[in-house]
């Protein structure tokens, strides 16, 4: 029987990775996904009750969540390292130390170069999955020694590069460009998306927004409700200083774009972002005037299920999608 490369690499049953989400993917969600046979991953700030600008405190809060995950599952899980730059590197360095000290099985590395932490993580026995948005970046990550790449299409929620390549284009281009396993994210919310991503060349899938709308996620109930109500044109892509961010369209995104178009300075925009951040939406529940990172896949979400049910539905329905396709393969003519 053929073994899936991502399952083999990560020691998981199903090639489904829950994308780490700022303020959202904490211990309960991570453990629920891992216990269901996928890979749950811890996101920045998840489980915190306030914003903190202290390197050690940030690290210790992250450690507390990791310990909580270990109490809830004996199966592999991951944690997010947002590399960053400048003074933010002190934060990511602390997170790397915590991952190594706590022997977290998998690191999801994003927002930064692959040559910063890959070696130190790999030497500590941690599997490194690096997020990219072009085939060229995938090759650089492979050269830096990462274990797998995660390609994030333009439709994906949250922060990514400016290239705007969609999952349908990026996944096969990356699969052709590297030899290491490829995980595909952006626009996947059900079995149809999983099947398409695997057909396009992915070894596994990466779902964030779908898991945001689950019982175990730390998202505010108002945010989860907004996801259920969202339709196909529910998100916008916000140009920020160094990246694009895909957010649920609301009064926050409207005002941000108005400020940007009327020539607001980077400082003004930065202040506006920090006063209407994901903390205000995801923790405090201001789903209208604050930022909710989320993908176009929100249009496909109709219910708030448990994370385990999401995994189970995707897997069970993939089989019937395959049968439906096989039945189209006819030997007639």
């Amino acid at each position: 029987m053929h073994q899936n490369r991502i399952c083999e690499l990560l020691g998981i049953r199903y090639p489904i990775i829950q994308a780490p989400m700022n303020w959202v993917s904490g211990a309960e969600l991570v453990a629920a996904v891992s216990n269901a046979g996928g890979l749950g991953t811890l996101g920045p700030n998840a489980g915190s009750k306030d914003k903190v600008w202290d390197v050690d405190e940030t690290g210790e809060r992250f450690r507390a969540q990791i310990k909580k995950i270990k109490n809830l599952t004996a199966l592999p899980f991951g944690a997010n390292i947002t590399v960053g730059f400048g003074e933010l590197l002190a934060y990511s360095k602390k997170i790397v130390d915590v991952l190594i000290e706590e022997a977290v099985p998998v690191a999801i590395v994003s927002v930064g170069r692959p040559d910063v932490y890959t070696q130190i993580l790999t030497e500590a026995g941690i599997k490194v999955l690096h997020a990219i948005s072009t085939a060229r970046h995938a090759q650089k990550a492979e050269a830096a020694g990462v274990d797998a790449v995660i390609c994030e299409g333009f439709e994906a929620g949250g922060h990514k590069g400016f290239t705007e390549l969609t999952t349908f284009v990026l996944t096969p281009m990356v699969a052709d460009a590297v030899r290491i396993p490829v995980v595909s994210g952006g626009g996947i919310g059900d079995a149809r998306g999983m099947l398409a991503a695997m057909v396009l060349g992915a070894d596994g899938i990466y779902m964030g927004t779908r898991f945001m709308a689950t019982k175990e996620s730390y998202s505010h109930p108002k945010v989860k409700q907004a996801l259920v109500q969202a339709n196909d044109v529910c998100t916008v892509s916000l140009p920020k200083d160094f990246m694009l961010a895909r957010d649920l369209a609301n009064n926050f995104t409207r005002k941000y774009l108005e400020r940007k178009q009327s020539g607001a300075s980077p400082e003004e925009l930065g202040l506006y972002l920090s006063e209407h951040s994901q903390y205000h939406a995801q923790y405090q529940g201001d789903s209208d005037q604050a930022e909710i990172c989320c993908g176009q896949v929100a249009g496909l979400i109709r219910e708030i299920d448990s994370a385990g049910e999401v995994v189970k539905d995707v897997i069970n329905n993939t089989q019937s999608c395959i049968e439906a396709l096989k039945s189209k393969l006819s030997d007639q003519f």
């Binding site: 899936n4 439709e155 969609t166 626009g187 149809r192 396709l325 006819s330």
Partner: protein, 327 residues
């Protein structure tokens, strides 16, 4: 062979459609696609008068005895082309399939349907697909954000548009945008589509009636080499990046863009000249992110044979891996 609602609808062997391509989809390309087992659509507005279309339909009939259709694009212009005249020609010449694009085809539905013509409407959003079903279209062709030409203003990608449209309507669906190989075909079918449409990929074929430089440019450029122009006019077009495109974007970045300022660069005859003469720095070429997969200039027969072979291999072999991974 893949048997889908789209192969049934058109009576063709392969669920692959070459939809309208201004200046490019003439009898030469369209007949080649139909002869290769898919279905081609000739773009009516490539011919300034309905009689020109009639002559081209007759020419196409000489080149193929397989089904083909006509694309009618409804443009938001002050002096509309003679659409009823083009439709009359289609009816008189026994055309059975019409692909409509641009504005809502409702004003022409009676004329088309009473002649027994099957109508496929090109959409860029779920709400347009729902509307198309309501006014009596027989299928929809839906364009993702990654598509060449005019992908609308909503920026929803193929990965999302196809399943959401599948959930919203009962009509057969043709997926379009970002598709150029067997993986794209099976991926789109997996999302719920019944067939695929390709544009950029068909321009880089032996039979496409464009200068060889155009085909080579599609081969040489990558998935990262497209840009969106005319967004400020809410008439967004995805095109191949070149100096003319940079100029247009520079004009748009000044704000308060007027179409008059862009006409010298984006007018149809400028693009037509480039397609014929191959001066790739003198005009604008619609091109999708699919350019990343365009690595050669095959005949339509070779291209479709290859896509179908890839697709069948995926369905027979790759699925075994997906299933066992989940076992």
């Amino acid at each position: 062979m893949l048997k889908t609602r789209i192969t049934d609808l058109f009576g063709i062997e392969r669920p692959i459609v070459q939809g309208g391509l201004m200046w490019v989809a003439t009898s030469q390309l369209t007949s080649a696609v139909s002869n290769a087992g898919g279905i081609g659509f000739m773009t009516a507005l490539t011919f300034p008068e309905p009689e020109g279309l009639r002559a081209e339909i007759r020419k196409c009939r000489e080149l193929t005895d397989k089904p083909f259709g006509i694309n009618l694009t409804f443009l938001p212009t002050l002096r509309p082309p003679d659409y009823p005249g083009y439709i009359d020609v289609c009816i008189q010449e026994g055309i059975r399939f019409v692909e409509t694009a641009g504005r809502n085809p409702e004003p022409y539905m009676d004329q088309l349907k009473s002649a027994g013509i099957t109508v496929i409407h090109k959409c860029t959003s779920v709400r347009h697909a729902v509307k198309a079903e309501k006014i009596g279209c027989d299928a929809v062709s839906i364009d993702g954000f990654e598509a060449a030409g005019h992908p609308g203003e909503d920026d929803v990608t193929t990965m999302i548009l196809v399943p959401l449209t599948r959930d919203a309507i009962d009509l057969p669906i043709i997926a379009s945008g970002g598709l150029g190989d067997g993986r794209g075909l099976v991926g789109a079918l997996g999302l719920g589509a019944d067939g695929i449409n390709m544009g950029t990929r068909f321009v880089a074929t032996q039979e496409a009636p464009v200068h060889t430089n155009v085909k080579q440019a599609l081969v040489d450029h990558t998935e990262r080499d497209t840009r969106l122009i005319m967004r400020t006019l809410r008439n967004t077009e995805r095109v191949m990046h070149n100096e003319v495109v940079d100029k247009v974007l520079e004009i748009e970045s000044r704000g308060n863009t007027r179409i008059e300022d862009l006409i010298p660069y984006v007018a149809g005859n400028v693009g037509k000249g480039m397609l014929e003469q191959g001066h790739m720095d003198k005009g604008i070429l619609a091109a999708g992110q699919t350019m990343g997969f365009v690595n050669d200039v095959p005949s339509c027969q070779v291209l479709l044979d290859r896509i179908m072979a890839e697709a069948e291999e995926i369905i027979k072999d790759k699925f075994a891996q997906v299933v066992s991974a989940e076992g």
